[in-house]
Amino acid sequence: MLAYIGGILIAAGTARAQLNEGQYYLRTLPDVPIVLVDGSKTTLHRLFQSQSVILTLFSAHCGGLCSAYLLYLRQALGSTPTGFRVVVLSFDPRDTLADVRVLTQRLALAEHPSWQWGVMDPEQIPRLLAGLGYALRYDPTRNDYDHSIVVFVVDRQGNILRRMEGFQDPALLKDLVREARGNFVFSYPLPATDVALRCFDFDKETGTWRLSWGMALLLLPPVSSLAIALLLRLLVALEQFRAADSSS
């Protein structure tokens, strides 16, 4: 337990110092042992081997957001996702397999093989949390944890591809799913008002866009070059006219 608490403190410290999402990108997660809800033993990397995975963590004892967040995930990802799997692991050393089974039944996800639930040895939990940059703090007054609610996209080699914190627009979660399936996901800045010249104007209300003056600026270089060439020709003609005039 001491090792667990020490590890949690290190993990929490690491997470606070490294808020930059980019620092976790392509980081390979530790291959920690897992006990699945059916009692079988495996390791984290074996869970990733056959398909990309959306990974999230929870506590069955959580009196806060865990259940709500898992319901949100179920709604957004579906109970029988295709092309990827959802791996849900407990970060709480108090959780037993029986606790997890009760939770899966309550969420109506117990019978869905695409959702894999598991617990870890308490000494292994900090290793995984540090690898994920998962923020966790035990609050003795509530006898509960303050923790991140976050999902990760992990590839078949156990590398983190993306992470997304909190309750986000389900459309963004669907992007995660597409990324987990190996599809290219577009990303773009939201329209801002303080941009000088944009290539496009985007209407947030209707979702339509149209070309803007910035794109017209791209015509300036070739057009001005032709104008410069013609101007030079005129200058030369003028020069020659003056020379002819002075010689006559």
Binding site: L26, Q157, N159, F186, Y188, P189, A192, D194, V195, A196, L197, R198, C199, F200, L211, G214, M215, L217, L218, L220, P221, P222, S224, S225, L226, I228, A229, L230, L232, R233, L235, V236, E239, Q240
Partner: protein
């Protein structure tokens, strides 16, 4: 000793002094990627920025200097725009190196928005960098306008572009050198205009806080950078058209209708070929992606096909005496074909998604620059040195040609192999996922040392003789 000789010799000395330093930067980068060195990331990216900008800057200038010198065969060339270009280029380079090595600027040579605002060590580096760019832009713009004006004093615009040859007329005759130089000068003007616009937009954000549109900035930056490096190559081709037949003991090339058509096509198409750098910018209008794909295919075919045919026909049955100058020109054309082919492969949309962020890209641009464009300019320099000093660099022929070509081939080969293994570009160290990149970087770095050795031999020889030209004046 004419002023044109002096300024040409001054350009040669300056370019050849900077060239080995820029090569050394490249070697350090490859050895670092090969884990033989351990540079900080900041140092690596500063070297990458300096290497790219210096190489493009010096060889664009040298190509222009060669064309400026040869232009006197047809028109009266005034030296003040060239001298103005020389002085302002030096100012620009000094500012650039200060921004990079003192100011910690490390944007990469394309300085994509908003990277110039992220100089890590100082706040003055971005404005100094913009000033350096402005200095280089003004230098080359005035120089290019000076050359264009010189041509237009003798030829009308239509004649300079050989439009009369398009209809089969043979008079008035437009030499291929004038045609290619004119299309290249007209082609490079948009690059300078785009540079001005980019600098203004950067300045508006830096001093005025007015944010810019990243897509617009990327388009403008590539109109500048991509067009500049393409036109640089065409200046080299103009030099080749002018000198190569003479080196083979054959009469000068004539402008045939297909030659006129090819280079007029290049003039238009090269402006739009840069779109292939934005295939992955999904918000770019799709029609521009189609134009980019077509232009990328069309742009090199006329120029490469026509030039290659001309060069091979010239060499065939000529009894050419091979020394450094013709060897540089001939091998330059051959590697231009190889690099151009690799570029076209990358410019195909489907391939681009696999290749574009890999070392395939440095592979192809090093092929037609290090082994193409640079060789065209070295061919001119070797010819110039012989013209002025009578020394045909005979002693250097075997060691320089062997070391340079062997080293250069091995160097780009390492890039190609790593690129086809999906090793990413623009990183200082390779992650375990693409660890083969380190081995190929080390191999590439070792081959680059052969190029460096050849360059030192050649530079010592050429600078000595050009210095005599300067001292004599």
């Amino acid at each position: 000793m004419t002023a044109l000789n002096r300024i040409t010799a001054a350009w040669i000395v300056t370019v050849l002094l900077v060239f080995p330093i820029a090569i050394l930067f490249g070697i350090l980068m490859r050895l670092n990627q090969g884990n033989a060195l351990s540079l900080s990331s900041l140092t690596f990216y500063a070297l990458m920025t300096a290497h790219g900008l210096l190489m493009v800057g010096i060889w664009f200038s040298m190509a222009m200097a060669g064309v400026s010198y040869l232009l006197q065969r047809y028109v009266e060339v005034r030296t003040w725009p060239i001298t103005f270009g020389y002085v302002l280029t030096l100012v620009g380079v000094v500012l650039l190196l200060a921004a990079i090595f003192v100011g910690g600027l490390h944007t990469g040579w394309y300085f994509l928005y908003p990277l110039p605002f992220y100089a890590r060590t100082t706040s003055w580096a971005p404005p100094v960098f913009l000033l350096a760019l402005a200095s280089l832009g003004v230098a080359w713009l005035v120089w290019a306008l000076g050359l264009l004006m010189a041509i237009l004093r003798r030829y009308s615009l239509g004649q300079a572009l050989a439009w009369q040859h398009l209809t089969g007329k043979t008079e008035p005759e437009t030499p291929p050198f004038i045609l290619i130089t004119t299309t290249t000068l007209l082609g490079v003007l948009p690059a300078f205009v785009a540079a001005v616009v980019v600098i203004v937009l950067f300045a508006l954000e830096y001093w005025g806080g007015l944010k810019q549109d990243a897509l617009l900035m990327k388009n403008l930056t590539f109109i500048f950078g991509h067009t500049l490096v393409n036109e640089m190559l065409y200046f080299g081709i103009a030099t080749l058209y002018e000198l190569f037949p003479g080196l083979a003991g054959k009469p000068p090339y004539k402008t045939k209708p297909f030659v006129a058509l090819a280079w007029n096509l290049v003039l238009v198409v090269v402006w739009t070929a840069y779109f292939h750098h934005l295939y992955m910018d999904f918000v770019q209008p799709v029609v521009l992606q189609y134009i980019g794909q077509l232009a990328s295919w069309i742009a090199p075919i006329p120029a490469v096909a026509v030039t290659t045919f001309s060069v091979l026909a010239t060499v065939y049955g000529s009894g050419m005496k091979w020394w450094l100058a013709p060897t540089f020109f001939f091998t330059g054309v051959m590697f231009w074909i190889i690099g151009g082919f690799a570029a076209i492969l990358d410019a195909i949309v489907a391939n681009n998604f696999v290749l574009h962020n890999t070392l395939w890209v440095p592979a192809h641009f090093h092929t037609y620059n290090l082994l193409g464009n640079v060789l065209f300019s070295l061919g001119f320099i070797t010819w110039f040195v012989r013209e002025k000093s009578g020394d045909d660099s005979g002693r250097l022929y075997r060691p320089v040609a062997t070391l340079y070509l062997l080293g250069g081939t091995g160097f780009v080969f390492a890039f190609y192999i790593a690129g086809s293994a999906s090793v990413m570009r623009r990183v200082d160290k390779y992650p375990e996922l693409v660890s083969s990149g380190s081995l190929w970087a080390l191999i590439g770095g070792l081959f680059a040392i052969l190029v460096f050795a050849a360059t030192l031999l050649y530079v010592a020889h050429a600078i000595q003789r050009c210095w005599r030209i300067l001292a004599a004046s």
